[in-house]
Protein backbone atom coordinates (compact mmCIF):
# COMPACT_ATOMS: atom_id res chain seq x y z
CA UNK A 1 0.00 0.00 0.00
CA UNK A 2 1.11 3.53 -0.72
CA UNK A 3 0.87 6.01 2.14
CA UNK A 4 1.05 9.43 0.55
CA UNK A 5 1.60 12.78 2.19
CA UNK A 6 0.61 15.82 0.10
CA UNK A 7 1.96 19.18 1.24
CA UNK A 8 -0.78 21.81 0.91
CA UNK A 9 0.01 25.15 -0.71
CA UNK A 10 -1.95 28.16 0.52
CA UNK A 11 -1.79 31.89 1.16
CA UNK A 12 -2.99 31.62 4.75
CA UNK A 13 -6.63 32.09 3.71
CA UNK A 14 -7.36 29.67 0.89
CA UNK A 15 -5.77 26.56 -0.53
CA UNK A 16 -4.03 27.02 -3.84
CA UNK A 17 -5.60 24.95 -6.64
CA UNK A 18 -2.27 23.12 -6.82
CA UNK A 19 -3.19 21.08 -3.75
CA UNK A 20 -6.23 19.50 -5.43
CA UNK A 21 -4.02 18.66 -8.42
CA UNK A 22 -1.43 16.97 -6.22
CA UNK A 23 -4.22 14.88 -4.73
CA UNK A 24 -5.30 13.97 -8.26
CA UNK A 25 -1.77 12.79 -9.03
CA UNK A 26 -1.55 10.87 -5.74
CA UNK A 27 -4.86 9.13 -6.53
CA UNK A 28 -3.15 7.57 -9.55
CA UNK A 29 -0.81 5.56 -7.34
CA UNK A 30 -2.23 2.11 -6.67
CA UNK A 31 -3.65 1.56 -3.21
CA UNK A 32 -3.08 5.16 -2.26
CA UNK A 33 -4.00 6.32 1.22
CA UNK A 34 -3.73 10.07 0.91
CA UNK A 35 -3.10 12.50 3.74
CA UNK A 36 -2.73 16.25 3.31
CA UNK A 37 -0.50 18.27 5.62
CA UNK A 38 -1.43 21.90 6.21
CA UNK A 39 1.35 23.99 7.74
CA UNK A 40 0.04 27.40 8.79
CA UNK A 41 -0.13 29.84 11.66
CA UNK A 42 -3.77 28.93 12.26
CA UNK A 43 -4.87 26.39 9.69
CA UNK A 44 -8.45 25.66 10.69
CA UNK A 45 -10.26 26.88 7.58
CA UNK A 46 -7.48 25.59 5.36
CA UNK A 47 -7.66 22.15 6.94
CA UNK A 48 -11.43 22.12 6.50
CA UNK A 49 -10.99 22.97 2.83
CA UNK A 50 -8.37 20.21 2.42
CA UNK A 51 -10.69 17.73 4.16
CA UNK A 52 -13.17 18.30 1.35
CA UNK A 53 -10.79 17.18 -1.39
CA UNK A 54 -12.03 13.93 -2.87
CA UNK A 55 -9.76 10.98 -2.15
CA UNK A 56 -8.13 12.39 0.98
CA UNK A 57 -8.50 10.21 4.08
CA UNK A 58 -6.88 12.49 6.65
CA UNK A 59 -5.76 16.08 7.02
CA UNK A 60 -2.91 16.87 9.36
CA UNK A 61 -3.05 20.42 10.65
CA UNK A 62 0.25 21.75 11.93
CA UNK A 63 -0.25 25.17 13.50
CA UNK A 64 2.83 27.14 14.44
CA UNK A 65 3.53 30.89 14.38
CA UNK A 66 6.74 29.99 12.51
CA UNK A 67 4.54 28.74 9.67
CA UNK A 68 2.84 32.10 9.10
CA UNK A 69 4.77 32.45 5.88
CA UNK A 70 6.04 29.41 3.94
CA UNK A 71 9.82 29.44 4.20
CA UNK A 72 11.43 26.30 2.78
CA UNK A 73 14.13 26.25 5.44
CA UNK A 74 11.50 26.32 8.20
CA UNK A 75 8.98 23.96 6.61
CA UNK A 76 11.41 21.31 5.35
CA UNK A 77 12.45 19.91 8.75
CA UNK A 78 8.78 19.70 9.77
CA UNK A 79 7.81 17.90 6.56
CA UNK A 80 10.77 15.55 6.91
CA UNK A 81 9.70 14.79 10.47
CA UNK A 82 6.14 13.94 9.40
CA UNK A 83 7.35 12.02 6.36
CA UNK A 84 8.63 9.09 8.42
CA UNK A 85 5.26 7.37 8.26
CA UNK A 86 4.84 7.71 4.48
CA UNK A 87 6.04 6.01 1.31
CA UNK A 88 5.52 9.15 -0.82
CA UNK A 89 5.70 12.89 -0.21
CA UNK A 90 4.26 15.07 -2.96
CA UNK A 91 4.13 18.81 -3.49
CA UNK A 92 3.17 21.00 -6.43
CA UNK A 93 5.60 22.07 -9.12
CA UNK A 94 4.84 25.70 -8.35
CA UNK A 95 7.48 28.05 -6.97
CA UNK A 96 6.30 27.01 -3.48
CA UNK A 97 6.84 23.30 -4.13
CA UNK A 98 9.95 23.72 -6.25
CA UNK A 99 11.55 25.66 -3.40
CA UNK A 100 10.48 23.33 -0.60
CA UNK A 101 10.43 19.75 -1.89
CA UNK A 102 14.10 19.34 -2.89
CA UNK A 103 15.06 20.54 0.59
CA UNK A 104 12.75 17.88 2.01
CA UNK A 105 14.18 15.25 -0.36
CA UNK A 106 17.74 16.01 0.74
CA UNK A 107 16.76 15.68 4.41
CA UNK A 108 15.21 12.30 3.56
CA UNK A 109 18.34 11.33 1.61
CA UNK A 110 16.63 10.80 -1.75
CA UNK A 111 16.54 12.51 -5.12
CA UNK A 112 13.32 14.19 -6.08
CA UNK A 113 11.20 13.32 -9.10
CA UNK A 114 10.52 16.77 -10.57
CA UNK A 115 7.41 17.60 -12.62
CA UNK A 116 5.53 14.30 -12.49
CA UNK A 117 3.19 14.27 -15.48
CA UNK A 118 2.02 10.67 -15.28
CA UNK A 119 2.11 7.89 -12.73
CA UNK A 120 2.99 4.47 -14.14
CA UNK A 121 3.63 2.66 -10.86
CA UNK A 122 4.46 3.36 -7.23
CA UNK A 123 8.04 4.29 -8.18
CA UNK A 124 7.68 4.87 -11.93
CA UNK A 125 6.73 8.19 -13.45
CA UNK A 126 6.84 10.19 -16.65
CA UNK A 127 8.39 13.63 -16.59
CA UNK A 128 9.55 16.20 -19.16
CA UNK A 129 13.19 17.17 -19.68
CA UNK A 130 14.86 19.64 -22.07
CA UNK A 131 12.00 22.13 -21.76
CA UNK A 132 9.53 19.40 -22.71
CA UNK A 133 11.39 18.34 -25.87
CA UNK A 134 11.71 14.85 -24.44
CA UNK A 135 9.66 12.81 -22.02
CA UNK A 136 11.40 10.29 -19.82
CA UNK A 137 10.07 7.37 -17.84
CA UNK A 138 12.00 7.31 -14.58
CA UNK A 139 12.11 4.83 -11.75
CA UNK A 140 12.87 6.16 -8.28
CA UNK A 141 15.34 4.21 -6.16
CA UNK A 142 13.63 1.01 -4.97
CA UNK A 143 12.95 0.59 -1.28
CA UNK A 144 13.26 4.30 -0.60
CA UNK A 145 10.72 7.03 -0.08
CA UNK A 146 9.55 8.90 -3.15
CA UNK A 147 9.61 12.68 -3.04
CA UNK A 148 8.09 14.39 -6.04
CA UNK A 149 6.66 17.57 -7.47
CA UNK A 150 3.53 17.40 -9.60
CA UNK A 151 3.35 19.16 -12.96
CA UNK A 152 0.24 21.33 -12.70
CA UNK A 153 -0.75 21.32 -16.38
CA UNK A 154 -0.95 17.51 -16.38
CA UNK A 155 -3.68 17.17 -13.77
CA UNK A 156 -7.20 18.33 -13.14
CA UNK A 157 -8.22 19.23 -9.61
CA UNK A 158 -10.14 16.58 -7.72
CA UNK A 159 -13.60 17.75 -6.71
CA UNK A 160 -14.70 18.81 -3.25
CA UNK A 161 -16.90 15.92 -2.25
CA UNK A 162 -14.53 14.50 0.34
CA UNK A 163 -15.02 14.21 4.10
CA UNK A 164 -11.62 13.52 5.56
CA UNK A 165 -10.87 13.55 9.26
CA UNK A 166 -8.80 16.44 10.58
CA UNK A 167 -6.06 15.78 13.06
CA UNK A 168 -4.03 18.44 14.80
CA UNK A 169 -0.39 17.59 15.13
CA UNK A 170 2.58 19.09 16.89
CA UNK A 171 5.78 18.50 15.00
CA UNK A 172 8.92 18.46 17.09
CA UNK A 173 11.65 19.74 14.83
CA UNK A 174 14.39 22.26 15.33
CA UNK A 175 13.50 25.30 13.23
CA UNK A 176 16.24 27.59 11.97
CA UNK A 177 16.14 31.36 12.45
CA UNK A 178 18.55 32.12 9.62
CA UNK A 179 15.89 32.89 7.00
CA UNK A 180 13.35 35.67 7.43
CA UNK A 181 10.38 36.72 5.34
CA UNK A 182 10.38 40.46 4.64
CA UNK A 183 7.57 41.12 2.19
CA UNK A 184 5.53 39.89 -0.72
CA UNK A 185 4.68 42.20 -3.56
CA UNK A 186 1.77 40.36 -5.12
CA UNK A 187 0.00 41.53 -8.22
CA UNK A 188 -3.59 42.42 -7.40
CA UNK A 189 -6.11 41.77 -10.06
CA UNK A 190 -9.80 41.04 -10.41
CA UNK A 191 -9.04 38.97 -13.46
CA UNK A 192 -8.98 35.17 -13.36
CA UNK A 193 -5.82 33.53 -12.04
CA UNK A 194 -3.36 32.77 -14.82
CA UNK A 195 -2.57 29.28 -13.56
CA UNK A 196 -6.14 28.05 -13.38
CA UNK A 197 -8.01 30.18 -15.95
CA UNK A 198 -9.83 28.41 -18.76
CA UNK A 199 -9.02 31.28 -21.13
CA UNK A 200 -5.74 33.16 -21.36
CA UNK A 201 -4.65 36.03 -23.61
CA UNK A 202 -0.89 36.70 -23.75
CA UNK A 203 1.08 39.54 -25.27
CA UNK A 204 4.67 39.62 -26.48
CA UNK A 205 7.47 41.99 -27.30
CA UNK A 206 5.47 43.36 -30.23
CA UNK A 207 3.23 45.31 -27.84
CA UNK A 208 6.23 47.64 -27.47
CA UNK A 209 5.13 49.40 -24.25
CA UNK A 210 3.20 49.04 -21.01
CA UNK A 211 0.62 51.50 -22.37
CA UNK A 212 0.02 49.40 -25.46
CA UNK A 213 -0.28 46.29 -23.32
CA UNK A 214 -3.60 47.70 -22.09
CA UNK A 215 -4.94 46.41 -25.39
CA UNK A 216 -4.27 42.84 -24.24
CA UNK A 217 -6.05 43.47 -20.93
CA UNK A 218 -9.08 44.82 -22.79
CA UNK A 219 -9.21 41.81 -25.08
CA UNK A 220 -8.89 39.51 -22.07
CA UNK A 221 -11.73 41.30 -20.30
CA UNK A 222 -13.98 40.82 -23.31
CA UNK A 223 -13.36 37.08 -22.94
CA UNK A 224 -13.26 36.85 -19.15
CA UNK A 225 -9.70 35.64 -19.63
CA UNK A 226 -6.52 35.81 -17.56
CA UNK A 227 -3.55 37.72 -18.96
CA UNK A 228 -0.10 36.30 -19.63
CA UNK A 229 3.04 37.46 -21.39
CA UNK A 230 6.22 36.27 -23.05
CA UNK A 231 9.53 36.64 -21.30
CA UNK A 232 10.48 39.43 -23.69
CA UNK A 233 7.42 41.43 -22.60
CA UNK A 234 8.26 40.90 -18.93
CA UNK A 235 11.96 41.69 -19.39
CA UNK A 236 11.01 44.91 -21.17
CA UNK A 237 8.92 45.89 -18.16
CA UNK A 238 5.52 45.96 -19.88
CA UNK A 239 4.07 43.65 -17.20
CA UNK A 240 5.28 42.05 -13.92
CA UNK A 241 7.14 38.73 -13.68
CA UNK A 242 4.22 36.69 -12.36
CA UNK A 243 2.60 36.99 -15.78
CA UNK A 244 5.33 35.15 -17.64
CA UNK A 245 4.26 31.99 -19.44
CA UNK A 246 6.83 29.38 -20.42
CA UNK A 247 9.65 27.16 -19.29
CA UNK A 248 10.78 29.63 -16.65
CA UNK A 249 7.39 31.15 -16.05
CA UNK A 250 4.05 29.41 -15.67
CA UNK A 251 3.17 26.18 -17.39
CA UNK A 252 -0.53 26.43 -18.12
CA UNK A 253 -3.28 24.40 -19.74
CA UNK A 254 -6.25 26.68 -20.51
CA UNK A 255 -8.99 25.64 -22.92
CA UNK A 256 -8.23 28.69 -25.04
CA UNK A 257 -4.87 30.44 -25.39
CA UNK A 258 -4.50 33.53 -27.55
CA UNK A 259 -0.91 34.59 -28.31
CA UNK A 260 -0.59 38.12 -29.60
CA UNK A 261 2.70 39.36 -31.05
CA UNK A 262 4.58 36.36 -29.66
CA UNK A 263 7.02 34.57 -31.98
CA UNK A 264 6.66 31.13 -30.40
CA UNK A 265 10.15 30.45 -29.03
CA UNK A 266 10.55 26.92 -27.75
CA UNK A 267 10.75 28.16 -24.15
CA UNK A 268 7.41 29.91 -24.54
CA UNK A 269 5.77 26.92 -26.23
CA UNK A 270 6.81 24.72 -23.31
CA UNK A 271 4.36 26.66 -21.20
CA UNK A 272 1.34 26.17 -23.47
CA UNK A 273 1.74 22.65 -24.89
CA UNK A 274 -1.28 21.42 -22.98
CA UNK A 275 -3.62 24.23 -23.99
CA UNK A 276 -6.86 23.09 -25.63
CA UNK A 277 -6.94 25.55 -28.54
CA UNK A 278 -4.15 27.96 -29.46
CA UNK A 279 -4.92 31.10 -31.44
CA UNK A 280 -2.02 33.19 -32.76
CA UNK A 281 -1.98 36.72 -34.08
CA UNK A 282 1.32 37.73 -35.66
CA UNK A 283 2.37 39.89 -38.59
CA UNK A 284 5.00 37.37 -39.68
CA UNK A 285 3.39 34.47 -41.55
CA UNK A 286 6.52 32.39 -40.87
CA UNK A 287 6.50 32.89 -37.08
CA UNK A 288 6.99 29.51 -35.34
CA UNK A 289 3.88 30.12 -33.22
CA UNK A 290 1.81 29.26 -36.31
CA UNK A 291 3.30 25.74 -36.31
CA UNK A 292 1.37 24.96 -33.13
CA UNK A 293 -1.62 27.29 -33.51
CA UNK A 294 -5.05 25.80 -34.21
CA UNK A 295 -6.14 29.13 -35.68
CA UNK A 296 -3.65 31.60 -37.09
CA UNK A 297 -4.27 35.15 -38.19
CA UNK A 298 -1.54 37.10 -39.99
CA UNK A 299 -1.59 40.86 -39.60
CA UNK A 300 -0.82 43.91 -37.53
CA UNK A 301 -1.96 43.37 -33.96
CA UNK A 302 -2.57 47.10 -33.44
CA UNK A 303 -5.36 46.82 -35.97
CA UNK A 304 -6.55 43.26 -35.32
CA UNK A 305 -6.74 43.24 -31.52
CA UNK A 306 -9.18 46.17 -31.19
CA UNK A 307 -11.18 44.66 -34.04
CA UNK A 308 -11.33 41.28 -32.31
CA UNK A 309 -12.27 42.86 -29.00
CA UNK A 310 -15.10 44.74 -30.67
CA UNK A 311 -16.33 41.61 -32.44
CA UNK A 312 -16.37 39.68 -29.16
CA UNK A 313 -18.32 42.39 -27.36
CA UNK A 314 -21.09 42.46 -29.95
Amino acid sequence: MARILVIAEHDGKRLNASTAKCVACASGIEGADIHVAVFAETGETLAAEAAGLAGVSKVIQVDNPANAYPLAAVLAPQVAQLAGAYTHVLGPSTTFGRDLMPRVAALLDVNQITDIMQVLGSHTFKRPIYAGNAIVTVEAAAGKQVVGTVRMASYRSVDSTGKAAIERAVVEAELPGHSRFVSLQAGKSDRPDLQTASRVVSGGRALASAENFAMIFKLADALGAAVGASRAAVDAGFVPNEMQVGQTGKIIAPELYIAVGISGAIQHLTGIKDAGTIVAINKDADAPIFEVADFGLVGDLFKLVPELEKALRT
Binding site: A72, T95, Q112, T114, S179, A311
Partner: protein
Protein backbone atom coordinates in the same frame (compact mmCIF):
# COMPACT_ATOMS: atom_id res chain seq x y z
CA UNK B 1 33.42 38.55 2.04
CA UNK B 2 36.34 36.36 1.06
CA UNK B 3 34.94 33.99 -1.46
CA UNK B 4 31.97 33.18 -3.68
CA UNK B 5 31.51 29.70 -5.12
CA UNK B 6 29.61 29.44 -8.42
CA UNK B 7 28.43 26.26 -10.13
CA UNK B 8 28.70 25.94 -13.91
CA UNK B 9 27.04 23.01 -15.63
CA UNK B 10 27.86 21.99 -19.19
CA UNK B 11 24.59 21.55 -21.08
CA UNK B 12 23.27 21.47 -24.65
CA UNK B 13 23.08 25.09 -25.79
CA UNK B 14 19.63 26.63 -25.32
CA UNK B 15 19.31 27.38 -29.03
CA UNK B 16 19.58 23.72 -30.00
CA UNK B 17 16.28 22.01 -30.69
CA UNK B 18 16.82 18.81 -28.75
CA UNK B 19 15.47 15.63 -30.29
CA UNK B 20 14.92 12.15 -28.94
CA UNK B 21 16.94 9.55 -30.88
CA UNK B 22 14.78 7.47 -33.17
CA UNK B 23 15.61 4.29 -31.21
CA UNK B 24 14.49 5.93 -27.96
CA UNK B 25 17.90 5.43 -26.35
CA UNK B 26 18.31 9.04 -25.32
CA UNK B 27 18.42 12.52 -26.76
CA UNK B 28 20.71 13.38 -29.66
CA UNK B 29 23.80 15.05 -28.22
CA UNK B 30 26.35 14.06 -30.88
CA UNK B 31 27.86 17.11 -32.51
CA UNK B 32 25.48 19.59 -30.86
CA UNK B 33 26.77 22.82 -29.39
CA UNK B 34 27.47 22.71 -25.66
CA UNK B 35 27.44 25.76 -23.41
CA UNK B 36 27.30 26.92 -19.83
CA UNK B 37 23.77 26.46 -18.49
CA UNK B 38 22.27 29.96 -19.04
CA UNK B 39 21.15 30.31 -15.43
CA UNK B 40 24.67 29.48 -14.25
CA UNK B 41 26.12 32.14 -16.50
CA UNK B 42 23.90 34.67 -14.72
CA UNK B 43 25.05 33.27 -11.36
CA UNK B 44 28.66 33.87 -12.38
CA UNK B 45 27.93 37.36 -13.70
CA UNK B 46 26.38 38.27 -10.35
CA UNK B 47 29.39 36.93 -8.44
CA UNK B 48 31.77 38.89 -10.68
CA UNK B 49 29.82 42.11 -10.14
CA UNK B 50 29.99 41.59 -6.38
CA UNK B 51 33.76 41.11 -6.57
CA UNK B 52 34.18 44.08 -8.90
CA UNK B 53 32.31 46.27 -6.40
CA UNK B 54 34.91 45.21 -3.86
CA UNK B 55 32.50 43.10 -1.82
CA UNK B 56 34.23 39.77 -2.44
CA UNK B 57 37.83 38.64 -2.61
CA UNK B 58 37.62 35.87 -5.17
CA UNK B 59 35.18 33.97 -7.33
CA UNK B 60 35.70 30.22 -7.72
CA UNK B 61 33.80 28.33 -10.44
CA UNK B 62 33.03 24.64 -10.06
CA UNK B 63 31.80 22.08 -12.53
CA UNK B 64 30.93 18.45 -11.93
CA UNK B 65 31.03 16.01 -14.81
CA UNK B 66 33.21 14.49 -17.53
CA UNK B 67 36.50 16.15 -18.50
CA UNK B 68 35.11 18.21 -21.37
CA UNK B 69 33.38 20.49 -18.86
CA UNK B 70 36.82 22.14 -18.73
CA UNK B 71 35.67 24.16 -21.74
CA UNK B 72 32.85 25.73 -19.77
CA UNK B 73 35.16 26.37 -16.82
CA UNK B 74 37.63 28.09 -19.18
CA UNK B 75 34.77 30.26 -20.43
CA UNK B 76 33.95 31.06 -16.81
CA UNK B 77 37.58 32.01 -16.19
CA UNK B 78 37.51 34.16 -19.33
CA UNK B 79 34.42 35.92 -17.99
CA UNK B 80 36.48 36.79 -14.94
CA UNK B 81 36.43 33.98 -12.37
CA UNK B 82 39.72 33.69 -10.45
CA UNK B 83 40.08 29.92 -10.45
CA UNK B 84 38.21 26.77 -11.34
CA UNK B 85 37.61 23.32 -9.94
CA UNK B 86 36.45 20.37 -12.00
CA UNK B 87 35.15 17.39 -10.07
CA UNK B 88 35.50 14.62 -12.61
CA UNK B 89 32.80 12.01 -12.91
CA UNK B 90 31.98 9.56 -15.71
CA UNK B 91 28.61 11.22 -16.32
CA UNK B 92 26.86 14.22 -14.80
CA UNK B 93 25.61 12.96 -11.41
CA UNK B 94 22.12 13.21 -9.95
CA UNK B 95 21.21 16.35 -7.96
CA UNK B 96 21.70 14.79 -4.52
CA UNK B 97 25.18 13.58 -5.42
CA UNK B 98 25.97 17.03 -6.86
CA UNK B 99 24.80 18.59 -3.61
CA UNK B 100 27.05 16.23 -1.60
CA UNK B 101 29.99 17.10 -3.83
CA UNK B 102 29.31 20.81 -3.48
CA UNK B 103 29.04 20.42 0.29
CA UNK B 104 32.48 18.82 0.36
CA UNK B 105 33.86 21.74 -1.68
CA UNK B 106 32.09 24.18 0.62
CA UNK B 107 33.83 22.55 3.58
CA UNK B 108 37.19 22.93 1.85
CA UNK B 109 36.74 26.38 0.36
CA UNK B 110 34.60 28.01 3.06
CA UNK B 111 32.68 30.37 0.75
CA UNK B 112 30.44 33.07 2.22
CA UNK B 113 28.02 32.67 -0.63
CA UNK B 114 27.22 29.92 -3.12
CA UNK B 115 25.44 31.10 -6.26
CA UNK B 116 23.90 28.54 -8.61
CA UNK B 117 21.42 28.59 -11.47
CA UNK B 118 17.83 27.89 -10.46
CA UNK B 119 17.76 24.89 -12.77
CA UNK B 120 19.78 23.25 -15.51
CA UNK B 121 18.07 23.36 -18.87
CA UNK B 122 18.89 19.73 -19.68
CA UNK B 123 17.19 17.76 -16.92
CA UNK B 124 15.14 20.70 -15.60
CA UNK B 125 15.44 19.24 -12.11
CA UNK B 126 15.77 22.43 -10.07
CA UNK B 127 17.04 20.59 -6.99
CA UNK B 128 20.76 21.01 -6.43
CA UNK B 129 20.80 24.41 -4.69
CA UNK B 130 17.99 23.53 -2.30
CA UNK B 131 19.65 20.19 -1.50
CA UNK B 132 23.02 21.80 -0.84
CA UNK B 133 21.35 24.30 1.50
CA UNK B 134 19.61 21.42 3.34
CA UNK B 135 22.76 19.33 3.76
CA UNK B 136 24.77 22.39 4.77
CA UNK B 137 22.05 23.51 7.21
CA UNK B 138 22.12 27.02 5.71
CA UNK B 139 19.52 29.38 4.17
CA UNK B 140 18.37 29.09 0.58
CA UNK B 141 17.04 31.89 -1.59
CA UNK B 142 15.82 30.31 -4.81
CA UNK B 143 14.67 31.89 -8.11
CA UNK B 144 16.37 35.16 -7.21
CA UNK B 145 16.15 38.24 -9.42
CA UNK B 146 17.98 40.64 -7.10
CA UNK B 147 20.68 40.17 -4.49
CA UNK B 148 21.76 42.86 -2.03
CA UNK B 149 24.55 42.19 0.47
CA UNK B 150 24.49 43.87 3.86
CA UNK B 151 27.48 42.51 5.72
CA UNK B 152 26.40 39.41 7.60
CA UNK B 153 23.09 39.09 5.76
CA UNK B 154 21.70 39.24 2.24
CA UNK B 155 18.38 40.62 1.04
CA UNK B 156 17.11 38.60 -1.87
CA UNK B 157 14.20 39.30 -4.20
CA UNK B 158 12.66 36.05 -5.41
CA UNK B 159 10.37 35.57 -8.40
CA UNK B 160 7.44 33.56 -7.06
CA UNK B 161 4.13 32.61 -8.67
CA UNK B 162 2.26 35.41 -6.93
CA UNK B 163 4.82 38.17 -7.55
CA UNK B 164 8.05 39.22 -5.88
CA UNK B 165 9.03 37.97 -2.46
CA UNK B 166 11.75 39.56 -0.39
CA UNK B 167 13.70 37.36 1.95
CA UNK B 168 16.48 38.16 4.37
CA UNK B 169 19.02 35.42 4.98
CA UNK B 170 22.08 35.10 7.18
CA UNK B 171 25.33 34.33 5.41
CA UNK B 172 26.68 31.95 4.36
CA UNK B 173 23.75 31.00 2.15
CA UNK B 174 22.86 29.39 -1.15
CA UNK B 175 21.26 31.62 -3.78
CA UNK B 176 19.82 30.21 -7.02
CA UNK B 177 19.24 32.74 -9.75
CA UNK B 178 16.52 33.43 -12.27
CA UNK B 179 17.01 35.01 -15.69
CA UNK B 180 16.19 38.59 -14.80
CA UNK B 181 18.99 39.04 -12.28
CA UNK B 182 21.43 40.47 -14.82
CA UNK B 183 22.72 40.21 -18.36
CA UNK B 184 25.97 38.26 -18.54
CA UNK B 185 28.94 39.96 -20.21
CA UNK B 186 30.45 38.81 -23.46
CA UNK B 187 33.86 37.23 -23.34
CA UNK B 188 36.58 39.13 -25.20
CA UNK B 189 39.44 37.46 -27.02
CA UNK B 190 42.25 38.73 -24.75
CA UNK B 191 40.30 37.35 -21.78
CA UNK B 192 40.26 33.93 -23.37
CA UNK B 193 44.05 34.07 -23.67
CA UNK B 194 44.39 35.20 -20.07
CA UNK B 195 42.04 32.47 -18.87
CA UNK B 196 44.42 29.80 -20.14
CA UNK B 197 46.87 30.77 -17.41
CA UNK B 198 44.37 30.74 -14.57
CA UNK B 199 44.37 27.71 -12.24
CA UNK B 200 41.98 24.85 -13.01
CA UNK B 201 42.09 22.04 -10.45
CA UNK B 202 40.90 18.61 -11.51
CA UNK B 203 39.73 16.34 -8.73
CA UNK B 204 38.45 12.80 -9.39
CA UNK B 205 35.20 12.07 -7.57
CA UNK B 206 36.97 9.39 -5.51
CA UNK B 207 39.38 12.08 -4.31
CA UNK B 208 36.49 13.64 -2.41
CA UNK B 209 35.54 10.37 -0.78
CA UNK B 210 32.10 10.50 -2.38
CA UNK B 211 30.46 7.82 -4.51
CA UNK B 212 27.57 8.20 -6.93
CA UNK B 213 24.18 8.01 -5.22
CA UNK B 214 20.86 6.37 -6.13
CA UNK B 215 19.81 8.39 -9.15
CA UNK B 216 16.35 7.67 -10.50
CA UNK B 217 16.94 5.35 -13.46
CA UNK B 218 15.68 6.40 -16.86
CA UNK B 219 13.69 3.54 -18.37
CA UNK B 220 12.64 5.16 -21.63
CA UNK B 221 12.85 8.31 -23.70
CA UNK B 222 10.08 9.41 -26.00
CA UNK B 223 9.31 12.44 -28.09
CA UNK B 224 6.53 14.63 -26.75
CA UNK B 225 3.19 14.59 -28.50
CA UNK B 226 3.35 17.15 -31.25
CA UNK B 227 0.59 19.64 -31.75
CA UNK B 228 -0.83 19.66 -35.25
CA UNK B 229 -0.55 22.80 -37.30
CA UNK B 230 -4.07 24.18 -37.63
CA UNK B 231 -5.64 26.49 -40.17
CA UNK B 232 -4.96 30.09 -41.12
CA UNK B 233 -7.96 32.38 -41.10
CA UNK B 234 -8.16 35.44 -43.36
CA UNK B 235 -9.66 37.97 -40.96
CA UNK B 236 -11.17 38.67 -37.55
CA UNK B 237 -14.68 37.65 -38.61
CA UNK B 238 -13.41 34.25 -39.75
CA UNK B 239 -11.46 33.83 -36.50
CA UNK B 240 -14.53 34.54 -34.40
CA UNK B 241 -16.58 32.15 -36.52
CA UNK B 242 -13.94 29.42 -36.17
CA UNK B 243 -13.84 29.83 -32.39
CA UNK B 244 -17.65 29.74 -32.23
CA UNK B 245 -17.69 26.58 -34.36
CA UNK B 246 -15.38 24.88 -31.92
CA UNK B 247 -17.61 25.87 -29.01
CA UNK B 248 -15.01 28.19 -27.53
CA UNK B 249 -17.18 31.29 -27.40
Amino acid sequence: MDRILVGLKRVVDYNVRVRVRSDGSGVETDGVKMSINPFDEIALEEALRIRERGDAGEVVVVSIGPGDAQQQLRTGLAMGADRAILVETAAAPDPLTCARILLELVNREKPDLVILGKQAIDNDNSQTGQMLAALWGRPQATFASKLVLNGATATVTREVDSGLEILEVDLPAVVTVDLRMNEPRYVKLPDIMKAKKKPLDQIPLSGLGISMGDAPTVKAYEAPQQRQKGVMVPDVAALVAAMKDKGLL
